[in-house]
């Protein structure tokens, strides 16, 4: 071709963008791997998830059989005591975790699908779809959560599946707004405009360009939404709007409360369940927040720290490495 081979310079070696390559492929996982907060959060979450999965096999006692007196205090055989029906609290917690986490994650999944879908459609297409969908979103946003949950639970009746949908209906709106904003901004990126100018179909652009770009945000949002979902499940169950026949952390607290565990001094019937919920939520938050922080490197406030560049004593002549 008559072009000197050295006319165009060598590309940089793979994976090593030199100082300043931020947005490379696995930057998210790398950032998470490097963050203590993320690792702790993930660790906590995995701990509870594993226990929840293995509950039927590793719970010391059956969660529906009485093995002692009501509100039996903690002992060697029953490290967390017994509930109002004489059932081993530890086993109850393990089974409860199962349902709570499943309900929480299921509700999150439904909320993400609805919210993400609406966000993508509104953000990408704009115009009338955006207007219409956002009005619907606003409508759901302003409905007060608790009365809404009470009404829906009253109308639909008890049941874990119903609970999942009630929670999902409460949660999808925030996701929709966040995803819509991000999709709108991605849509204006030059490479998306380029794909459109090539004649790419909307579906292709959404799947190949938009989704990967909002993926990390979706993940962060999912994790944070899961925290709220689990909290909502606990709260709704505590208020008696859950499924009384199921074993969830919320139910455990509810029964303990209703059956006067507090006046009986049986803290073990309420506190451990509450702590489990708290830890799972914290785990979700730590993980979700660190993903969010990784998404926005400019949040690192090094610019605001007081300037204190270091000075080295003058040495004549050029020095290469101090």
């Amino acid at each position: 071709m008559g072009v000197r081979a050295d006319l165009v310079e060598e590309p940089l070696p793979p994976g090593d963008g030199g100082p300043g390559a931020e947005q490379h492929r696995n930057w998210l996982w790398q950032a998470v791997r490097e963050s203590t907060q993320a690792k702790v959060g993930l660790g906590v979450l995995l701990f509870f998830i594993v226990i929840a999965i293995l509950a039927p096999w590793i719970a010391p006692y059956d969660a529906r059989t009485s093995v002692g007196p009501p509100f039996g205090p903690p002992s060697l055989q029953h490290p967390l005591g017994l509930d109002d029906g004489g059932i081993d609290m530890l086993s109850l917690l393990m089974h409860g975790g199962r349902s709570s986490i499943i309900v929480g994650f299921a509700a999150t999944f439904v909320a993400m699908v609805i919210g993400g879908g609406i966000g993508i459609i509104a953000g990408y297409f704009g115009g009338w779809p955006d207007l219409g969908l956002m009005r619907v979103t606003d409508y759901f946003l302003v409905i007060p959560d608790l009365p809404f949950a009470i009404v829906v639970a009253a109308v639909w009746g008890p049941g874990l599946v119903h609970l999942v949908f009630v929670i999902a209906l409460l949660l999808w709106t925030t996701t929709a707004r966040i995803i819509r904003a991000q999709v709108k901004s991605v849509r204006e990126r030059t490479y998306v405009k380029r794909a459109r100018s090539l004649g790419a179909s909307d579906l292709r652009i959404i799947v190949r360009h938009v989704l990967p770009q909002i993926g990390p945000l979706l993940i962060a949002n999912t994790v944070l939404t899961a925290a709220i979902a689990i909290f909502d499940e606990t709260a709704l169950a505590f208020l008696g709007l859950g499924d009384p026949s199921a074993i969830t952390w919320g139910n455990i607290i509810e029964f303990g409360f209703l059956r006067t565990a507090i006046s009986a001094g049986a803290w073990w019937a309420i506190v451990p369940a509450g702590l489990c919920v708290a830890f799972v939520i914290m785990g979700c938050y730590w993980l979700g927040q660190s993903i969010e922080d990784a998404l926005n490197p400019r949040l690192k406030v090094a610019y605001l720290s007081p300037r204190q560049f270091r000075v080295q004593a003058l040495v004549t002549g050029r020095q290469d490495q101090p």
Partner: protein, 323 residues
């Protein structure tokens, strides 16, 4: 004693994954009042870091050595403490993209008054009068000071940024790419303004840019930077008509010109990474006249003629000798 003297300035940055980046390597120059010097180079050559170092505006990850003397007094000797004494009062800077970094919720006048009050230069009615004079000096009607930055055009915002930089009466002005984002006509206005300011106020100007023709038009002398060091310095006339460093020559050859009829040619390759020590001449891989010595020995910036220096082994060879 020169107004501004920079001696053997070195800046290293700590890298997040360990190691250091040697961003500025042994930079030195002097500047007298009323003189305009161009600091020319492409992205990554260290010119912005150099002027930031002169202001003492380096991040905590930076390590500096060398001397910066204003009227004979050292600016950097005590780090931030000493830099603070001179910043804005003796030496001021217009940053890259300053016109887009003005505070949108403060009037232009307020933004000029702010540094004056902070540095104890003037306050109240007297300060307002000075601000008005400054605005007129940069070509903005004084009563426009009560407007907000978004009401100004790009050129006017750049003038406002200049007025802010001059508010505490500095003797040295550092301008980092002051006209890069501007249209060519507005650029001409701003360059004319910079020329007038140096003449009327006796300011010394360091104009940092990648645009050689801009420097040729405004400055009397220039320093060409490559890979963190100055590779050539001299009068504009000398470095264009008799460049002593291949990079200078090739950079001119890569710059299209309205008058020029010759072919415009790129420089092959890319600048070296500055996180490793460089053996030999940093420009060697891209140089069209490199020879044996260039791979082994690093050239030093040496005076060649009156007022012209270059860091190239070719200048040591007897005239007419083949490499």
């Amino acid at each position: 004693m020169s107004l501004l003297e920079v001696r053997d300035l070195n800046v290293w940055f700590d890298l997040p994954r360990g190691g250091r980046l040697h961003a500025v390597q042994g930079v030195g120059f002097t500047l007298e009042p009323g003189h305009r010097m161009g600091l020319v180079g492409e992205s990554g050559c260290g010119k912005t870091t150099t002027v930031l170092a002169l202001m003492g505006l380096l991040p905590p990850s930076a390590l500096v050595s060398g001397e910066v003397l204003i009227d004979g007094r050292s600016v950097l000797v005590d780090g931030e403490q000493s830099a603070q004494l001179y910043r804005w009062k003796d030496i001021a800077m217009v940053f890259q993209g300053a016109m887009n970094a003005l505070n949108p919720v403060k009037t232009v006048e307020a933004q000029i008054l702010e540094p004056m009050a902070f540095h104890g230069i003037a306050e109240g009615a007297e300060a307002k009068r000075t601000a008005g004079e400054l605005l007129e000096l940069v070509g903005i009607p004084a009563d426009a000071g009560s407007r907000y930055p978004h009401e100004f055009s790009g050129g006017m915002r750049q003038r406002a940024a200049l007025a802010m930089a001059l508010s505490c009466g500095p003797k040295v002005l550092l301008a980092d790419e002051p006209t890069t984002a501007l249209d060519v006509m507005v650029q001409a206005q701003i360059l004319e303004l910079l020329q007038r300011l140096t003449e009327e106020l006796g300011l010394a100007l360091v104009l940092v840019t990648h645009d050689l023709p801009v420097v040729a038009q405004v400055c009397e002398q220039a320093a060409v930077m490559y890979a963190g060091e100055i590779v050539e310095t001299g009068s504009m006339d000398a470095i264009f008509h008799a460049p002593r460093h291949p990079y200078t020559r090739l950079l001119f050859a890569a710059t299209p010109d309205l008058d020029g009829e010759e072919e415009v040619v790129s420089i092959p390759g890319a600048p070296p990474r500055l996180d490793h020590a460089i053996v030999g001449c940093p420009f060697r891989p891209r140089c069209d006249r490199a020879f044996g010595r260039c791979a082994e020995e690093r050239p030093v910036l040496r005076a060649i003629d009156a007022g012209q220096s270059a860091a190239c082994h070719l200048n040591d060879e007897p005239v007419g000798a083949e490499p």
